[in-house]
Point group: C2
Chain length 322, copies 2
Amino acid sequence: MIAVLAGGVGAARFLRGLMLEVEPQYITSIVNTGDDTVLHGLCISPDLDTVTYTLAGAIDPERGWGLENETWIAMGALSRYATTRPLHSHAAPTWFNLGDKDLATHFYRTARLAEGATLAQVTAEIAQAWGLNLQLVPMTNNSVQTVITLAEDCEAGKAGAEISFQEYFVKHHHSVAASAVKFVGSAEATPNGLELLASADSVLIAPSNPLVSIAPIRSLAGVDNILAQRRDSVCAISPIVNGTALKGPADRLMTELGHESTVVGVAKIYAPICGTLIIDNADAHLASAVEAQGMRCIVTDTIMKSPQVSAALAKTALDATR
Amino acid sequence: MIAVLAGGVGAARFLRGLMLEVEPQYITSIVNTGDDTVLHGLCISPDLDTVTYTLAGAIDPERGWGLENETWIAMGALSRYATTRPLHSHAAPTWFNLGDKDLATHFYRTARLAEGATLAQVTAEIAQAWGLNLQLVPMTNNSVQTVITLAEDCEAGKAGAEISFQEYFVKHHHSVAASAVKFVGSAEATPNGLELLASADSVLIAPSNPLVSIAPIRSLAGVDNILAQRRDSVCAISPIVNGTALKGPADRLMTELGHESTVVGVAKIYAPICGTLIIDNADAHLASAVEAQGMRCIVTDTIMKSPQVSAALAKTALDATR
């Protein structure tokens, strides 16, 4: 059994490669839900949906999120209310795009949760509805909210104000400076997810943002302890290549929060729980600095331009844990 | 000031005519919300929306509900989950059609209620967003549910089972026999609606279903007492013409629940609270039987084939209350 800690786009592409190397029924991905939000009364789990849609071959390849051949009619109609709502109201937000086909997933999740199903149950049902054979597990069945503290006065608010991850990431295009990230909510890790982290033959940490995709999972009681005890069979892939993130704000967040925005910075974050770090060929000159953090370092092609590159990367990661 | 008790389609057409006779700012419509439901986590108020969309000139003229030029992409995508949900689950219902543009209204209502706004506030905001100048007031800010008891074993359940109004009306196409209608919930009438019923110059009861559109409003404490005290300036239009309902189940419900499905049956229901009943030319022979119930009876054209007919009907009703 293989467990994969996952965020959104990078993790989804990595999992797609892993599924070319290993039968899906041997793979369980534990997915970040700190980005989850409620909009229009609908329960939205962006990372779970990105992974599901990607592995189902239904993701929009240009955007990297949402469904291909999507339409935006409901969102278009919402602008009527966005322009007439009372000044103090935040109803009818139009900054978070929800495609018409994608809405069905949020409708289903919301209704099932209202029926008393756990998020883990609903996630498994949605994965099955899309024909997936691997197991997707939300990191928790409870609510954990990733909260960003603003470093300075900006369009998003005053210095020190706290905003939700989706406000940071989508509404403000992760272009405002952060001084802190925290995870709010007294949540427990999903029980079978936690058991799997202990019992799996391999644990892989996908090339996701260490601070806002993997850190929420690590914030749950037990996760870091379990991984630390088995760190030799844990392998992470650096999402930082040549000092920058391929997608998203990992590089600037690392700098703003006092880390080096390099594979060495990633190594320092993961060293306590992870025996091997895979870095890109572009960072080969930093391999010994990674090893100085007490990790094995593997240098290979990590830029997942194709499923084949993803598959080769996944095989390298798996081999490293054996 | 004119107050109009209203259900859905018939009331909407009547109000459209009334607005041709009277400046909209003098009209307040108190609208049934016993049909309201929650689907996919969204707060849906079918009668309020039918009235709003009709008066905004945006209703689909064929269906009589929902928006014209509507698309159904979200509903189409929902079928994936409807066919894969667990057997015991009612999530992803596809029997209640929600158009993509219409969804924006439910998104806004749901979000505003979650922000703490009352349904009356949200209803006013939605009416304003659609450019309406009359006042729309939900009958209550609380939850009242119109519940139908099944008369016999049928596709909807066992005899004696209770189903929601929308299950009765939409899911089962109001084709199952009812033995009772009740209104569940400890609701108060919307305060300004109740005041208006006392102070308005005229109260009109639109040609809506007496048992499931007007009765929920009448079930609220104070409404019938206020109307009884001023019954000479209250005028109703019969929704029953020649023994049948122009739309919906009013005729069969009246029979099933022990009323005559005629204008005389309507007169018996409204006589305690209403001084005048307007009936269609087709029922002219029943005018004296209506008058025998202690009401004035006016015979005219009540079939609202055009806004002009609706306007003439509204003028007749208004004149009757003066």
